[in-house]
Amino acid sequence: MTPSLSRRTGSQSALVRGLRNSRSLIGLGMIGAIIALAIVGPALAPYSPSELVGVPYDIPNPDTLLGTDSLGRDVLSRFLYGGRNLVWMAIAATTLGLSIGIAIGMASAYFKGMTDEILMRLVDIQLAFPSVVFALLFVTMLGPSPLLLVILVGVSQAPSVARITRGAALGVVERDYVQWARAVGIPTRRILMSEVLPNITSPLLVELGLRLMWSISLLAGLSFLGYGIQPPNADWGLMVNESRNALTIQPWAVLAPILAIATLSIGGNMFAEGMSRAIGRTEGTK
């Protein structure tokens, strides 16, 4: 083996090690399947998502394999088109929430003192508004645009990520390799990014799974309350909302998107848990 200084090798092998865990593989598979569905789905759709192809709530038949929805649109086509929004919004919101939370949590743990106090109080203030309430107020104020929803869902996720990050980072920032980096004058931002962050990935991966589920749930819940993605867009959350009353007469219009949403959630969760297990084990918790 040739000696290497590349850090990429390190993270790659961590990923590879993580993926040896069957859970993370299955989880990744589930996420991948849903993302793939969201991307290639439109190409496979037999109709346009807004095309009126039949009577409302028609049951599955050879023309409309999953039946029709409340407006007589093809459920299968809407399902195939409907992943894009939710998938990118959930992933973007989760990423945003994690980024903000991680930044705040690490800064809080690293700088301690007043910085810590102020940041944590900010986090408390944000936590005092339940995420639905928070989103409700701002969506009403600014109107339901996808970008705003992503920001709101992301920001409302940030406090708990910040707390988890801070808790995990508190132990790491005291570790000698971080202290060494401080002592030799490595810039703080680099210390945080390359010395602290890689060592708190286990709890953060678990958090990633949880946050992904919360993002999806929150986005879908906002849809339910009428504050989410707006018709006539094809969107899984919206589909569930539009057809939920007809669950007993045309179940597919609700079940298909729910299955996809649940698969994404569960996949994220399994991936995160598998990764954290695998990484935790190979690192050898010493």
């Binding site: 200084l5 000698d176 390799y177 401080r182 030799v184 010493k286």
Partner: protein, 588 residues
């Protein structure tokens, strides 16, 4: 019925079948102490816990018997074993601070075993017994004391509570698992004395597990040396430690430093074999100075010769070298590179370092000695700006350093390097060794990838490591290797002063010896060193001058020879008197 403890053919494996302890047998008479010695990974703690019929998660006791007064503990059911624990066999943990439940008062933790189980006593009886035992371990017996929580007691008190919990049920076998490792020397000696006294007074059979040969020689009647889960040598203490027959016992003794003289320390080259990938030969052969083809091919059997046993084809083949060959002392004092003036360091409102001044010259090793809480580590951290809450000045090459590391300049960052105590915490587990060292190179000497690689390789080799290790992660290295990596990382910065904070206290003696020799070699190249430690024997081996700290203040500052031959203050004398050295004389 046979009195005492008799262990035969004890074998322990992991759940995947890997054998971690092979065929351990010994006997202990009441009132006697068996010392179980070995380096980390030797299986000594596993053996100790197995004596309670306990294997811990992930392992199981595969074979053997543990007879206590004629009853085989291992033949009992789990429930029956549980009945025996705390009553027939007791266990004293390594770190009572960690082993006592933080959420229960010590009174509860003392009494709970007595008032539960089949042989439960009533509370009054139990309380009387507790008072008796607490008196024996020299702790208060009043209600207020019993109502305290572990976090409210000192380390020494906690360890005595651990001991009291163990003996309160009048056991026949007492298993002590490194019970003094975390203690200061004075407290350690007290606890050791307690163990000896209790064993004799209560006619206990005791097993004392330790990696510290000095401690074992002070407390044990018999000694068993374990290596890689096997018995290497077993016999009377005086014999095993005074005139070891096995090359491994021999090497261990040569690696141990002593306060009695400045001797070269010889590490044992190589590392302990991996439990999972083991050949058929002697487990020590790879590190053995006299190993040959036969040793490598077939593992020698444990040969019993009278009261002792040995696992070696060529016992006594290594020549005993008992007398100390002193090292030459340091040269005349050179150019001063660092000066600490009137340093007062605080933690919150608490002064932990009080008005300390000293200088360090080029190529000189100054040892900073003190017990835990003496402020020595805080002082060391002030040197590199990790502790900035201090008054007074630290001057380096004539310039006063800013207090915080963040505000010091690149030159100060580079020229003062720090070696941390815990090699497990000093390397980023997510970076390869090469990357960790390369980080320092890139930071101070930005250059092409190849230049960086070359610099790293040179440093790695200078620290006595194979360049192959550069692509490994810290978790794949032994403690000694990690500490060498940390040293290499310091060396690539081309420092003038190395601050070492107990760099060897977490290491096995054989590794400690080689690290000390490595550091000594670096000093020969002109590197100055501030060596922080609590271990006087190490001090004697490496330092030129000694500063003794007590509660943050300098008690004595003198040359190494002067301190060890004629300590000027009571405190220094006391410290010296507590040092335990392996001496043939002890066994007699």
């Amino acid at each position: 019925m046979m009195k005492g403890v008799k262990v035969a053919s004890l074998g322990i494996s992991l759940l995947d079948g890997t054998r971690i302890v092979h065929d351990v047998s010994f006997a202990i008479e009441p009132g006697k102490v068996l010392g179980l010695v070995g380096e980390s990974g030797s299986g000594k703690s596993t053996v100790a816990k197995a004596l309670l019929g306990y294997a811990g998660p992930g392992a199981r006791i595969g074979s053997g018997s543990v007879f206590i007064d004629g009853e085989d503990i291992l033949a009992l059911s789990e429930a029956e074993r549980r009945e025996r624990r705390g009553r027939i066999i007791s266990y004293v943990p390594q770190d009572a601070g960690m082993s006592l439940n933080p959420g229960l008062s010590i009174g509860t933790q003392l009494i709970e075993r007595l008032v539960s189980g089949r042989d439960a006593q009533n509370r009054a009886e139990a309380a009387a017994r507790i008072a008796e035992v607490l008196t024996a371990v020299r702790l208060p017996t009043d209600r207020n004391f019993l109502a305290r929580y572990p976090s409210e007691l000192s380390g020494g008190q906690l360890q005595r509570i651990g001991l009291a919990i163990a003996v309160v049920g009048r056991p026949k076998l007492l298993v002590l698992d490194e019970p003094t490792t975390a203690l200061d020397v004075a407290t350690r000696n007290e606890v050791l004395k307690l163990v000896s006294d209790l064993s004799k007074d209560m006619h206990l059979c005791s097993v004392y597990v330790s990696h510290d040969l000095g401690v074992i020689s002070a407390v044990a009647d018999q000694v068993m040396v374990l290596y890689a889960g096997r018995v290497m040598e077993y016999g009377e203490g005086a014999q095993v430690l005074g005139a070891p027959a096995h090359p491994y016992s021999h090497a261990l003794l040569r690696a141990v430093p002593t306060t009695l003289g400045r001797k070269p320390l010889e590490g044992i080259a190589g590392t302990a074999p991996d439990l999972r990938s083991r050949g058929t030969g002697c487990v020590f052969v790879a590190r053995c100075p006299i190993g040959d083809d036969r040793c490598a091919a077939v593992e020698p059997a444990l040969v019993v010769k009278g009261a002792s046993s040995i696992r070696c084809y060529k016992p006594n083949a290594v020549e005993a070298k008992t007398n100390i060959v002193p090292l030459p002392l340091a040269k005349a004092r050179g150019e001063q590179i660092c000066a600490v003036r009137n340093l007062v360091a605080r933690y919150g409102p608490l002064d932990v370092v009080r008005d300390v001044s000293f200088e360090i010259d080029k190529g000189e090793c100054v040892a900073l000695v003190g017990e835990s809480g003496s402020g020595k580590s805080t002082l060391a951290r002030c040197m590199i700006g990790l502790h900035s809450n201090y008054d007074g000045t630290i001057a380096f090459c004539g310039d006063t350093l800013p207090r915080k590391a963040e505000t010091r300049n690149g030159d100060a960052h580079r020229r003062i390097q720090y070696i941390f105590q815990d090699p497990y915490a000093s390397l980023n587990p997510r970076r390869t060794v090469g990357d960790s060292i390369g980080l320092a190179v890139r930071h101070f000497f930005p250059g092409s990838r190849q230049d960086v690689l070359d610099a790293v390789r040179v440093a790695v080799e200078r620290a006595g490591l194979s360049p192959d290790l550069m692509s490994r992660y810290p978790s794949e290295l032994s403690g000694g290797e990690r500490q060498r990596v940390a040293i290499a990382r310091a060396l690539v910065c081309k420092p003038d002063l190395l601050v070492c904070d107990e760099p060897t206290s977490a290491l096995d003696v054989s590794v400690q010896a080689s690290i000390i020799e490595l550091l000594r070699g670096l000093m020969a190249d002109g590197l100055a060193m501030l060596f922080v430690t609590h271990d006087l024997a190490v001090v004697r081996s490496i330092s030129d001058r000694v500063i003794v700290l007590q509660q943050g203040a300098v008690v004595e500052s003198a040359s190494t020879e002067a301190i060890f031959s004629a300590p000027a203050t009571g405190y220094s004398r006391e410290l010296l008197s507590h040092a335990l050295n392996v001496r043939p004389a002890i066994a007699s």
